[in-house]
């Protein structure tokens, strides 16, 4: 199995509520390679979960292009989206309990999730899936008897029940203690490494982000920065715009005229003194 790539260009999503249009995403452009483990970071309301739901086909983009593997999500019908979710994309919702049928065991929850999988797909057994996330001994344990961390692992297991090419996980470590959080992160890493599945997870926990090989920070519906192996980078957008890191942006209030110069490969930003400026 190979992971699915994600590619967005000028992705826009607008929520319409109470007569107002709110742009949750304003021209996002990202590219995730197959088999990557990527974290989406950003403050509340930045648009992380919206991006995740767009990737899962739960929302339809208002504009722009969104490609998940071979699927052009923006133009897919409901049936095609159903088919995509049944085999190619797994989703773990925020709040472990929301991912599970409360009266089923972990194994049955996985079977439930496998019901809609394409017939031609060779599905692993629920026990194998649970083994992968470290719940091999709890296949038949009632959900009510699992710890919160185990419930979250079970939710992750259900998300990968059909061994999709892409796993979208929304805040999988929230409301967990450190130990459970680490277990869940370990499980996601295992899934990513052993199956080659692309994993896109949303988090606002810096500690979690620090453990991820790649992070994308979203702010005000735009890509604010990208982190690679602990280093934070600004990302130049398609239109050439460059969101400044917060500590730089503090020095340059909105409306400041900046002189951009290059000097031997170094790009220099110099604020220009204006009349009336202090």
């Amino acid at each position: 199995m190979t992971g699915l790539a994600i590619s967005t260009t000028g992705l826009v999503h607008i929520y319409r509520a109470h007569g107002h249009d709110v742009a949750a995403l304003s021209g996002i452009g990202i590219s995730v390679r197959p088999g990557e483990l990527v974290g989406l970071l950003g403050p509340s309301g930045a648009g992380k979960s919206t991006l995740l739901q767009l990737c899962g086909g739960l929302l339809t983009p208002s504009a722009g292009r969104l490609q998940v593997g071979e699927h052009n999500v923006a133009t897919m019908t409901d049936t095609e989206l159903d088919r995509m979710r049944s085999g190619d994309v797994g989703i773990v919702l925020q709040g472990a309990g929301r991912n599970l049928i409360p009266y089923l065991t972990p194994a049955d929850n996985i079977r439930y999730a496998q019901q809609a999988a394409p017939d031609e797909r060779d599905l692993p057994t629920p026990e194998a899936i649970l083994e992968l996330v470290g719940l091999g001994n709890h296949a038949a344990t009632p959900l009510s008897q699992l710890t919160p961390g185990q419930v979250q692992l079970c939710a992750v297991a259900v998300g990968i029940a059909t061994l999709p090419g892409l796993l979208l996980a929304d805040e999988p470590t929230s409301q967990l203690d450190h130990h459970a959080r680490d277990e869940v992160l370990a499980a996601l890493r295992t899934i990513n490494s052993e199956t080659g599945m692309t994993v896109l997870l949303v988090t606002h926990d810096p500690e979690v982000a620090a453990t991820l090989p790649r992070t994308i920070t979203i702010r005000d519906g735009r890509i604010a920065s990208e982190g690679r192996s602990g280093e934070e980078y600004a990302v130049v957008a398609v239109d050439g715009s460059l969101p400044l890191p917060p500590h730089v942006a503090e020095l340059l209030p909105a409306g400041t005229l900046v002189q951009v110069t290059t000097d031997d490969g170094v790009i220099r930003l110099t604020p220009v003194e204006q009349e009336g400026n202090q």
Binding site: H18, T79, R85, S86, P102, Y112, Q115, A116
Partner: protein, 1031 residues
């Protein structure tokens, strides 16, 4: 795959759905089943209760000599296919004879009936001797033994009455008393029990003589043969009705065709019509009542499913999230919810059957066999399909929402206040039904569905108005610092689920109110109609030859009329003309059923006999009148074409008088000797009268001799009238003498005027003419039933003696006429008594109408009547009629309404509980959050308790109002009686006590429930609750 576990996990919801569906199935099945059972019960009880009218009484039409027609020959007239539903034929032969005891020959020959009836001996108590075993042996009644002093061995010479010859000698071998004087065995032709010796005009009569069939074997008798049978109640089914009617109507024609000399006397065809009318009642009321409950149950099912499906939104989202299509998810959820609904509906079929068995054993008293009409499975199938459609529709709407919507815990508020399509459809449907009911001709089922439809429409509209209103109240209360009210109103405004409760409660209250109204109004009308039809609480009937002596006896029994009021009915020969109901106004007002409502005070005053004149009473064997004539001249009459007819010279006039005997009330005509013309001097005329016991002089008049038809006019001056006890009978003023109208009179006239003691001005062409002393009005005031076509001055009604009384209509009838409600003139009994006359026995009934006390003392009254020589029977009781109406199809069907009301309340409570059960966590979390922010527990407590209590109380009030309006619209469509027409109008006015009791009771029950549940929610609103997942 996971269906069983899903059902087990939410077993309570499954149970609720099963329960509601069970009610739907039970209603669907029970409605047509019960209707059929009621129809069959009515048929069975009608045939059993009216066995005589239902019977076929076949008899040879005239006397026959010998045995040319045998009783068995008559049996051929009953079609073979109907024989199983009829009793075996009971054969008989009889001959009416005149008989005598040879030793006392010369006496008038009394009449009797000599009869053989198959199996008669088993029906008799043989008090002496034995039953006949050979020809010409007879067994006589013990009454005859006493009357005629028969002994065993007495021989009678009997001759057929119709030919006066033949017959033979009959030997008495025993004496009997019938075991059951009015038993079914006799088919109405029971031994009369009457036996009396000869009187002046009566040769006397004996009770029946029973004999052996061999008596009629020879050719000496002119017997008639009979064959009687009746439909067997319970065996004759509804499916036989048409054939029974057709066979009854065609039997006489068939008899002629096949040459059997017989005629059938049967009212079975009329009974069949009566049963069919009652069937219509059942088929109108029961399905409509049950449809209302079923309709409500369907709505409740829809509301319950909405709550249940709403709770499954996360699971639906999960299914869609894992790639299941909307259709697949819908299918799975429909299966999960449809299964309990299907099982419930099918179980409802069984429950309906069980209910039928219970009802059959109790209300219907096993009056109906267990049948399976095709309507039952059809109704069950419709119920199943309908219930499953509701499931599909409710699931479909939710499943098709977008996944992102499904994932939301709280749906975003829609912009503005929109109404759901389903709610809108229900409102439109209900309003359309209501408009059809109010503006249409009342046909079709919609009008009767008004209570449910109106409750639904008003409830939903109210519920949708409640949300914004609650928002306003909340803001207003918040501004005023009333935190509890503000929070409670806020909770209402943000929870659309409250619309379900409000709508369900409104419909339940409407149905309960309607049920209460229907039940109480029907009962009231049954009691009222029974009262009017009976006349009073009870009616004793007897025969009397004399009105005066009847009234004397009544005065002796109950002089102050504490118990009874006398009523005399005089029937005309033609049923199309008026009959007379003679009443005693004062006692009638007190004793008769709602007697005081017959007319107003002025009406009563006009009805009563004049009381300002004393009668002209005397005791005498003769009357002497001193009379002269004055101004006599011939009177020329004119023919129709105006030509004068000259009849010659008049010769005389005759003074006549009508006197009414005190002894027996009879009225005598007294004719004085003719006054011959020309005579101008006073002459004394004497006439014999039979008035030693006392008489009242009622009328004076002028007659003519038979051979003197010539017209004459002039004055007859009566100077004096004397009797043995009165040298002068004071005739009073001329105004006290009123002309008695002459119907179809010629040009004659008569008036009284001053002069002498009395002067009679006359124009006579031969007809007797009278003036009447005003102790009794010459034109009798009468209250006449409104349907009678009244003609002024030409309408008469028979007096007690059958003679026509000219009426003056009192146009002040304000209520139905008791007991004889059509073609009836109500007149004053005292007036008729004063008019006198020998009672026409065959056309006059004497009745004593009893109030409750009178009925309680009926034995005392009949005992005293018997002492006075009156054989009185208690022929009618109001309670019996109420009981009979209580067994009508209408009454049986309306017994359902209380059950319906209770079922409606149960459903409303189910909705309430379901809504609370599915929303209490979120409500508890809301209140917990408020507590954390510092809102006092007392404020959240008030809010929790009143957020549902307020709307529910208002919904009960609204539903009650809808139920009252619905009852007002629907009840006129419900056939409370088999015959909708009639003189007793239906009283469909609102029963306010019932409405108030049901409203107060309903409010108390539901308010208690919501207060209790609200307190529970508040108790659970702890901090831990906030951390719980809502699923």
């Amino acid at each position: 795959m996971f269906l069983r576990r899903a059902l087990r996990y939410r077993w309570a919801q499954a149970l609720v759905l099963t329960g509601i569906s069970l009610l739907i199935g039970a209603c669907a099945v029970f409605g047509p089943w019960f209707a059929r059972a009621v129809e069959q019960t009515v048929m069975t009880e009608t045939l059993a209760g009216q066995s005589l009218p239902a019977s076929w009484l076949l008899a040879s039409p005239g006397p026959q000599v010998g045995v040319s027609t045998r009783p068995e020959d008559l049996d051929k007239l009953l079609p073979n296919d109907l024989k199983p539903v009829f009793t075996p034929p009971l054969h008989g032969i009889y001959n009416d004879v005149s008989w005598s005891i040879p030793a006392t020959a010369g006496d008038p020959s009394p009449g009797a009936r000599v009869r053989w009836r198959d199996g008669y001996c088993a029906q008799l108590d043989v008090t002496e001797g034995r039953c006949p075993q050979a020809a010409n042996e007879v067994i006589a009644s013990t009454v005859d033994k006493t009357t005629w002093e028969f002994r065993l061995g007495t021989t009678l010479a009997a001759t057929p009455s119709d030919v006066g010859k033949g017959g033979g000698r009959l030997s008495i071998v025993g004496f009997y008393q019938p075991k059951q004087a009015r038993g079914d065995f006799w088919y109405g032709d029971y031994p009369t029990g009457h036996s009396h010796t000869p009187a002046d005009k009566d040769p006397g009569a004996a009770n029946e003589f029973f004999t052996d069939s061999s008596t009629f074997a020879g050719n000496k008798w002119t017997q008639r043969v009979t064959s009687d049978f009746r439909p067997i109640p319970g065996v004759a089914r509804l499916g036989d009705l048409d054939r029974l009617k057709e066979a009854t109507e065609t039997v006489n024609g068939n008899a002629r065709e096949i040459g059997v000399a017989a005629q059938n006397t049967s009212s079975l065809a009329t009974l069949v019509d009566q049963i069919q009318a009652e069937r219509k009642q059942a088929t109108t009321i029961i399905p409509l009542v049950m449809v209302q409950v079923a309709l409500f149950a369907v709505v409740v099912l829809a509301l319950a499913l909405a709550a249940v499906v709403d709770q499954r939104r996360p699971e639906i989202a999960l299914s869609r999230l894992r790639g299941s299509s909307a259709r697949r998810t819908q299918r799975a959820l429909c299966l999960e919810l449809g299964l309990p609904v299907l099982i419930g509906t099918l179980l409802g079929g069984i429950a309906g059957f069980a209910l039928l068995l219970i009802v059959r054993a109790t209300w219907l008293r096993y009056g109906a066999p267990i049948e399976l009409p095709w309507t039952v499975p059809a109704a069950l199938a419709v119920a199943v399909v309908l219930a499953l459609i509701v499931v599909v529709l409710q699931v479909r709407g939710t499943v098709r929402q977008s996944i992102s919507n499904l994932l939301r815990r709280v749906l975003p508020l829609r912009r503005g206040r929109t109404i759901g399509v389903a709610d809108l459809c229900i409102i439109v449907f209900a309003v359309a039904g209501l408009i059809a009911a109010l503006t249409g001709d009342g046909r079709g089922p919609l009008p009767v569905l008004t209570p449910a439809l109106l409750g639904l429409a008003a409830g939903l509209i109210f519920a949708h108005l409640l949300l914004p209103a609650a928002g306003l109240i909340s803001r207003s209360a918040l501004r005023k610092g009333r935190l509890g009210l503000a929070l409670g109103a806020l909770q209402i405004s943000r929870r659309p689920a409250v619309t379900r409760i409000v709508a369900a409660v409104a419909v339940a209250a409407a149905l309960l109110t309607f049920a209460g109204q229907a039940s109480s109004i029907a009962a009231t009308n049954r009691e009222t109609r029974s009262g009017y039809e009976t006349g009073a609480e009870g009616v004793l009937r007897m025969n009397s030859l004399y009105l005066g002596s009847f009234l004397q006896t009544v005065n002796q029994i109950d002089p102050d009329r504490h118990w009874l009021t006398p009523v005399v009915i005089s029937r005309p020969p033609s049923p199309d003309t008026l009959q007379t109901e003679m009443i005693e106004p004062d006692s009638f007002r007190r004793v008769a059923f709602q007697g005081d409502k017959l007319t107003d005070a002025q009406g009563w005053q006009t009805l009563q006999a004049p009381s300002d004149l004393a009668p002209l009473s005397f005791r005498s064997s003769q009357l002497t009148a001193t009379v002269s004539v004055d101004g006599i001249k011939p009177l020329i009459s004119r023919a129709a074409n105006g030509d004068q007819i000259d009849g010659g010279t008049p010769k005389s006039v005759i003074l006549r008088a009508n006197v009414v005997s005190h002894r027996d009330g009879s009225r005598y005509l007294v004719s004085f000797p003719p006054i011959r013309f020309p005579s101008t001097k006073p002459v004394a005329l004497q006439a014999d009268v039979d008035c030693l016991g006392g008489c009242d002089l009622l009328r004076l008049g002028i007659g003519r001799e038979p051979l003197d038809p010539t017209g004459v006019q002039g004055n007859v001056v009566i100077s004096n009238i004397s009797s043995d006890d009165h040298p002068t009978i004071a005739l009073g003023k001329a105004e006290s003498w009123q002309t008695v109208p002459q119907l179809g009179s010629d040009q004659s006239s008569i008036t009284a005027k001053p002069g002498g003691a009395l002067t009679i001005a006359m124009k006579s062409f031969g007809t007797d003419m009278y003036v009447q002393y005003a102790t009794a009005p010459s034109v009798v005031p009468a209250l006449v039933t409104p349907e009678y076509h009244w003609v002024d001055g030409a309408t008469t009604t028979p007096a007690a003696d059958g003679s026509p009384m000219t009426l003056a209509r009192i146009d002040r009838l304000t209520g139905p006429v008791n007991r004889y409600s059509e073609h009836t003139a109500v007149v004053d009994l005292e007036t008729v008594r004063r008019l006198g006359g020998v009672v026409d026995e065959g056309a006059t009934d004497f009745e004593l109408w009893l109030n409750k006390d009178g009925l309680a003392n009926v034995d005392t009254i009949t005992g005293k009547l018997a002492q006075a020589g009156y054989n009185a029977d208690l022929v009618d009781r109001r309670d019996d009629r109420i009981a009979a109406y209580g067994r009508s199809a209408s009454a049986l069907a309306l017994q359902l309404t209380p059950v319906v009301g209770i079922a409606a309340w149960v459903l409303a409570l189910v909705v309430l509980l379901l809504t609370v059960v599915t929303s209490w966590r979120s409500r508890a979390q809301d209140y917990a959050s408020l507590k954390i922010t510092g809102v006092p527990a007392s404020a959240t407590g008030r809010a929790a308790r009143w957020e549902q209590t307020g709307p529910v109380a208002l919904a009960v009030l609204l539903g009650t109002f809808c139920g009252l309006v619905g009852a007002h619209v629907a009840l006129p469509m419900i056939p409370l009686f088999a015959t909708s027409s009639g003189a007793v109008p239906l009283d469909l006015g609102i029963s306010w006590p019932v409405a108030l009791i049901l409203w107060a009771g309903g409010t108390a029950i539901l308010a208690t429930a919501t207060l209790f549940l609200g307190s529970g929610v508040n108790r659970r609103s702890t901090y831990n609750r906030i951390r719980e997942e809502l699923t």
